[in-house]
């Protein structure tokens, strides 16, 4: 039987060796809180997506859920909803941000503070301001934007999700209604030690686009042929780990990190 959604317990078990763990209390809480939130939000699938570390120690746990995924303009579009929690028990919505705020969020560097009510102040040059003239005594005041921490959190989650979100190739299929659904006849990856066996969730099933088409050197695969367990690690977003177990035909991924992209990767290979 092919899995319909990742199993949190198995994900944590297989990825613990990479350091992708959550605290014992949170893991216990997730067992109850995820099903509750799934019903509350009316979602077909809801699973733990990852953990973003913060400066005050109250890390953000992020859960990701969706109802349907459809094929639009040559890509699989998942209508994902994200939720965050700091204790693993109570989940709140993580609202999507518009593209203008997203570009501003990308300018905020460093780890998140861990205070959901915090606002980051971002100064920007006023585009409508008059040309600064040397005679003018008053300086042109820059525009100050208040960027809430949750917007930054959502932006980072989005950035990671678009660059990662790995599933095994052919584990999804298009149905007659142009929806992307789990492939119940998925027979397993033929070569789990190769990047060709894995794809991004948003590439259409059967399109042949796999992780091997990504920028070279951004992924690392380790495969234990005896246990049939492969680990795929993102080097662009260190902290994103994916596992695939060939014998039990399960897979899943988890992100545990500060949410920042590794911009120095080119020097590190």
């Amino acid at each position: 039987m092919v899995q319909l959604e990742p199993n949190i317990t198995l994900v944590l078990k297989h990825l613990a060796s990479c350091g992708a763990v959550v605290s014992a209390e949170q893991q216990a809480a997730l067992d109850h809180s995820i099903p509750i939130k799934r019903i509350e939000a009316g979602l077909r699938s809801l699973t733990l997506w990852g953990r973003l570390t913060t400066l005050n120690g109250k890390d953000y746990l992020v859960a990701e859920g969706y109802n349907v995924a459809s094929s639009k303009e040559g890509a699989a579009v998942y209508e994902t909803k994200y939720f965050y929690s700091q204790d693993g028990a109570r989940w709140s919505d993580l609202q999507p941000v518009d593209s203008e705020t997203a570009t501003r969020c990308a300018r905020i560097k460093g780890m998140l503070s861990g205070d959901p009510a915090k606002n980051y102040e971002l100064e920007e040059k006023d585009p409508n301001a008059p040309e600064p003239s040397p005679e003018a005594e008053e300086e042109v005041k820059p525009l100050v934007f208040q960027i809430p921490e949750l917007a930054v959190l959502r932006c980072r989650v989005d950035a990671i999700a678009t660059a990662t979100s790995v599933i095994p190739t052919d584990s999804t299929i298009l149905n007659a209604a142009s929806q992307v659904v789990p492939n119940r006849l998925f027979a397993g990856a033929a070569y789990p030690e190769k990047l060709e066996s894995y794809q991004h969730r948003f590439s259409l099933p059967g399109s042949g686009v796999t992780l091997s088409q990504d920028l070279r050197g951004t992924w690392a695969v380790q495969y234990d042929a005896f246990k049939g367990v492969a680990q795929v690690r993102s080097l662009l977003f260190p902290g994103y780990f994916f596992y695939y177990a060939a014998n039990e035909l399960t897979w899943g991924s988890l992100y545990v990190g500060d949410g920042l992209r590794n911009n120095d990767l080119i020097f590190m290979l």
Partner: protein, 465 residues
């Protein structure tokens, strides 16, 4: 039939195989006739397509990629090795008597309560999880018990993630100083061209085994229970070089560290240099637990230590460094050259030699801040509620992401799990200045050398005489 003389020749000609798909005219005609007879179309002769169709619709099982993939031969060595750490070690059987060879008495060693440590880390949501913690504790016990290694103490240092495989690192101290001889000699610091700084700077001697950055020896394995490799001692040049580069580990100790500026040594040396830097910065212990003995310079464990309660462990004041600070010279203890009699101390010594770092047992609070006045350590708690009484508290390092320490009651530990990358703004070194062209002034002539004049024949004749 002028072109061919006999039937045999005609057949031979028809049966010549096409180089393209390996069929011959003879085979094709046979197939064509059989197809016409099979289908029996009305006007077979008018259908040119019949001939084409036969050729096109033939299935040709070519030798191509197999439909069923050849599985990678499963190698059970790792898993077998991991199983072997459970239970008592199996003793080899003496073939003469059929009895097991009597084992040497197990070595006595010191170690922290590693299962307790794994539980603390599991509470805090750091480290490698409880299940792997059991494996690590048993692997460390196997190292400690080994009478051949004869270690005095063993500790799990952490895990380094690599591209192709990972490193589990164990920190050991040997009982006998004789182990010094067995230690692989640190490779002579290679002179690297372009490394102008080091070639002009005075040679800094390596710290002896058992001292400073080489106080402990590190054993690494890529899988628990697997073969252990002893890392060579670290040299100051390697520490200095590793600070200038940012590099992912590959998972193979012998691989070349391909960076600019060049790193003197292979990945084993690079890993050892990283360990030296990480341990100096992140190996910590609760404050008041250790005190410095002024005479021996060793740390002494306090007998009456009251562990701080719950969340107090998550304050930077509750922890102190128990490893000496690694100076920019690449040594823990600054090496100073001999001062010439007529030289002034401040002028003769360079910056490295005059550096004074924090003392041993300095509180984490005093660690250098990160840019933006960000403290180097952030607190972590095991519970979202403050009211939980016996909860664990700890600290997470921001300088070395992946380094954590934590404690609950009298159990405490610190560990590193990460990629071996420091959280510091990385500025790649610019390439070396372009080599200068040779000075034209020093060249004797720019033209072709003149043909040497032949010796005059008279002289030759004279010489003969």
């Amino acid at each position: 039939m002028a072109a061919v003389d006999s039937v045999a020749q005609a057949l031979a000609y028809l049966q010549v195989h096409s180089p393209q798909d390996g069929t011959s005219m003879y085979d094709h005609l046979v197939k064509l006739v059989s197809k016409v007879l099979e289908d029996q179309p009305k006007n077979a002769v008018d259908l040119l397509e019949t001939s084409l169709l036969v050729k096109k619709s033939t299935f040709d099982p070519k030798e191509s990629s197999p439909l069923v993939p050849i599985p990678v031969a499963p190698d059970a060595t790792q898993t077998q090795a991991a199983v072997s750490i459970f239970g008592d070690p199996e003793l080899p059987i003496n073939p003469a008597t059929g009895e097991p060879v009597p084992a040497d008495p197990p070595n006595e060693f010191e170690a922290e309560n590693m299962l307790g440590a794994a539980a603390v880390l599991d509470c805090l949501g750091v480290g490698l999880g409880r299940e792997l913690g059991v494996n690590i504790a048993l692997a460390a016990k196997r190292i400690g018990e080994d009478p051949k290694l004869a270690v005095r103490s063993v500790r799990f240092f952490g895990k380094f993630l690599g591209l192709y495989s990972d490193y589990f690192v164990f920190e050991v101290a040997f009982k006998k100083e004789a182990a010094k001889e067995a230690a692989p000699a640190a490779p002579a610091p290679e002179r690297v061209e372009g490394e102008a700084a080091s070639s002009s700077a005075p040679e800094v001697p390596v710290e002896e085994p058992g001292k400073g950055a080489n106080k402990f020896t590190y054993l690494v394995c890529s899988s628990l229970g697997g073969p252990l490799t002893r890392l060579p001692d670290v040299t100051p040049a390697q520490v200095k070089a590793s600070r200038r580069i940012k590099k992912l580990l590959t998972g193979r100790l012998t691989s070349h560290v391909s960076t600019y500026p060049a790193f003197p040594g292979n990945e084993a040396n690079y890993l050892r240099a990283l360990i030296a830097r990480i341990s100096a910065a992140t190996v910590v212990a609760p404050s008041d637990l250790f005190s410095l003995n002024d005479e021996t310079g060793e740390l002494e464990r306090a007998e009456d230590w009251e562990p701080p309660a719950g969340r107090e462990m998550a304050a930077p004041t509750a922890w102190v460094h128990v490893r000496p600070h690694l100076k920019s010279q690449g040594r823990c203890e600054v090496h100073k050259r001999e001062l010439p009699e007529d030289a002034d101390e401040d002028e003769f010594y360079n910056e490295d030699e005059l550096e004074e770092g924090p003392d041993l047992l300095a509180a984490l609070e005093e660690d250098a801040q990160l840019p933006g006045e960000q403290a180097a350590w952030t607190p972590i708690y095991s519970s979202a509620s403050e009211a939980v009484k016996t909860q664990a508290g700890g600290l997470r390092s921001l300088v070395w992401p992946g380094a954590v320490c934590g404690g609950r009651g009298s159990e405490w530990t610190c560990v590193y799990v990460g990629w071996g990358v420091k959280n510091a703004p990385f500025v790649p070194l610019p390439p070396p200045p372009v080599a200068q062209e040779f000075a034209w002034g020093e060249v004797e002539t720019q033209e072709l050398e003149l043909k040497p004049a032949p010796p005059p024949p008279e002289e030759e004749a004279e010489a003969d005489e």
